[in-house]
């Protein structure tokens, strides 16, 4: 009779042999493409939970395909340690470069160091890392400037109404440097216009729709005269619409009781609300520009060319007056066509 341990050893031996064949196969493939130009780039996203990240992911995928490069993908679903594993897996697979969306500015530092140690160029899409000795390039929107410009437009609309407005801001996860930039941009735009806009509610959302809705419902109960709302991300707009409807304050621009509404990102919901006349303005991040810059940065770094540590996406503000003209550049408008 066969003893289980002997059987186990036999299976181990079989597995080892099969594995060796597998390794040999992958080495042959690598050798076959070693001299060729196409690169293999690992793309690791922290999440695909919002339209913005999906649009960014798809833009990178499409751009890489257009350039003839291969993409390996990984999404860590909000788990930092898992993302670290995924990047180490990319390194194991000998990628030529890595494009990373980290969870936050600090937890990505060991990930960047691992890529540095393996001599693999790493570029951060839309979320920069904290300053450290870890070397990376970040492609980010100028969150502060773009938010300031967007909110300045909203303030000018408030001025036109000729009465004082009570404002609420929905703040993102303050562990995310982008959320901090947007909050500071909002404050900078409001500063000096306090006679027109008074901030009565600052709602922490931690980038969570349920928290945003509950927070805004509470704020509208505490201050029913809120008539100016800015959200740090457009993906919270459905929560805002729901809270405004509940409070009987959801009216189109130009109608009595309209709440001045602004956002950031430029997603499909924002585009629809702009078209329907409920949203006054939103700051649009140029996803296609950011995707192209990330890929180009990886290529340049591999070629030994100098690349700045920070590449800025200037973005643009889209509002009722320039909607027709700018819609073609708005990624949310493109997504809504699909």
């Amino acid at each position: 009779m066969t003893h289980p341990m002997k059987f186990f050893l036999r299976v181990c031996l079989l597995a080892a042999c099969t594995g060796l064949v597998g390794c040999q196969k992958s080495e042959t493939t690598s050798a076959g493409t070693a001299g060729a130009k196409p690169l293999t780039i690992g793309v690791a996203f922290e999440t695909l939970q919002t339209e913005y990240w999906v649009a960014g992911f798809e833009a990178i995928k499409a751009d890489l395909k257009k350039r003839g490069h291969t993409m390996l993908e990984a999404v860590s679903d909000g788990d930092t340690n898992r993302q670290f594993d995924q990047v180490k897996n990319f390194i194991t697979r000998k990628v030529d470069g890595i494009i990373l969306v980290p969870k936050d500015a600090k937890t990505c530092l060991p990930i960047i160091k691992a890529a540095n140690a393996a001599n693999v160029p790493i570029v951060l899409f839309n979320r920069p890392a904290d300053k450290s000795d870890a070397k990376s390039v970040a492609v980010v929107a100028d969150n502060f400037a773009l938010t300031r410009e967007t909110v300045a437009y909203l303030v000018s609309e408030a001025k036109k109404a000729g009465r004082k407005h009570k404002a609420a801001i929905l703040i993102g996860d303050l562990g995310d440097i982008n959320a901090i930039g947007r909050r500071d941009g909002f404050d900078a735009a409001i500063k000096g216009s306090e006679s027109v806009v008074e901030v009565v509610a600052r709602i922490p959302t931690e980038w969570n729709q349920e928290k945003a809705q509950a927070g805004l419902v509470n704020a509208l109960q505490a201050s029913p005269d809120i008539n100016f709302i800015f959200t740090s991300s457009d993906f919270l707009l459905p929560s805002i619409v729901s809270a405004l409807k509940t409070a009987g304050k959801y009216h189109q621009i130009g109608m009595p009781g309209h709440v001045i509404l602004g956002g950031f990102d430029g997603d499909a919901t924002a585009y629809q609300l702009l078209k329907d006349g409920y949203l006054d303005a939103t700051g649009v991040q140029d996803v296609y520009f950011e995707a192209a810059q990330c890929i180009q940065a990886v290529i340049d770094l591999r070629a030994g060319r100098t690349v700045p540590d920070l590449i800025r996406d200037p973005g643009f503000v889209i509002h009722q007056a320039n909607l027709q003209q700018k819609a073609a550049q708005m990624w949310g408008a493109q997504m809504s066509k699909k």
């Binding site: 909000g78 930092t80 340690n81």
Partner: protein, 330 residues
């Protein structure tokens, strides 16, 4: 040997394999054999190192879950304990604002604070379950929410880095993490197989009423199991935080299914009275092999989640089958 005798011999071998302690390990080997030819870089030393680094913290936290499951309970708060311990340790140790910033005692005291925080939450869970006769599911679900909220409140969602290098090495250097996990694993194994407390854990899980009549201090045993679970979650937090070189209130938030999944796949019963350190190790290994191979295959998140779910379901189904068909004393 006749055909009939050969068939009998193979059937007997198959039965031994199916009902042996090493069943999940064999499942791992078969999985590797099937997947390796299609997965670039799977059978390399570098990948083995990566796999080990990710396996160790999950193994430690799953050991705590094993102890609680043996008593017939469940601990849903382990992931929140990891977040809370991560942030309390980082608050104590970080070089910028830590109470022990740049002190040579930062690492040992910081790690001690983390272990104490884990024991405290575990003690709370155990006390609520034994004193107030509340269901473990509700108690640990509530403490999962409360502890998670406390961790976020403590830092206002912020992460904390600039931790001492000596602390980061505990999780960041695989050899050190391996030693920690081995010490923990062997200690729990000895406790379960050689100590009175270990025998009491199984007795409580089999039948708490009978155990009480037989003189087992049931409440104390359950309390002890939850404290152990909290402490082991804190050890896992030390390893995870060291790997990330950052304290985060949401660290480990997404691994609850992996913890329970790995423990149950290993063969530990959700109904209590059954579980071993080795089984948990094999369950964790299987889950990590699946995770690692699917990542190396660069599957999309959606495909990966579906495939992982199906594989776990099949493994659990197989385990449930052998539990039903297997010998009663298994």
């Amino acid at each position: 040997m006749s055909d009939a005798a050969t068939a009998r011999s193979w059937r007997a071998t198959a039965a031994r394999v199916l009902f042996s302690d090493y069943f999940v390990l064999w499942l791992c080997v078969v999985y590797v054999a099937v997947v390796a030819p299609f997965t670039p870089g799977f059978l390399t030393l570098e990948n083995a190192g990566n796999l080990l680094a990710t396996l160790l913290p999950l193994f430690v936290v799953a050991l705590g879950q094993t102890l609680v499951l043996i008593t017939g309970g469940i601990d849903l708060s382990v992931t929140s304990i990891i977040g809370l311990c991560s942030i309390t340790g980082a608050l104590a140790m970080n070089d910028d604002t830590g109470w022990l910033a740049r002190s040579p005692m930062a690492m040992p005291v910081g790690a001690g604070v983390m272990l104490a925080a884990g024991a405290l939450v575990g003690g709370f869970n155990g006390t609520a379950i034994t004193r107030f006769r509340m269901p473990p599911f509700i108690v640990t679900l509530a403490s999962m929410m409360g502890v998670s909220g406390a961790a976020v409140w403590l830092t206002q969602s912020k992460t904390i880095n600039r931790l001492p290098d000596a602390f980061n090495a505990l999780g960041g250097k695989t050899t050190i993490a391996l030693v920690i996990a081995l010490v923990v694993g062997i200690s729990v194994h000895v406790m379960l197989s050689r100590s009175m407390f270990g025998r009491w854990l199984y007795a409580v899980g089999h039948n708490a009423r009978t155990a009480r009549v037989s003189g087992v201090p049931v409440n104390g045993v359950i309390l002890g199991a939850y404290i152990c679970s909290g402490v082991l979650a804190a050890v896992a937090a030390i390893l995870y935080t060291g790997q990330a070189e950052t304290g985060s209130p949401v660290l480990g938030q997404r691994i609850l299914l992996d913890v329970i999944g790995a423990t149950v796949i290993g063969g530990t019963s959700l109904f209590g009275g059954r579980g071993k350190v080795l089984w948990t190790l094999f369950g964790v290994l299987f889950l990590k092999l699946v995770d690692n191979s699917l990542n190396l295959l660069s599957l999309s998140l959606f495909t990966l989640t579906i495939v992982k779910g199906v594989v776990i379901l099949l493994a659990a189904l197989l385990d449930s089958l052998r539990t039903r068909l297997g010998p009663a004393d298994r």
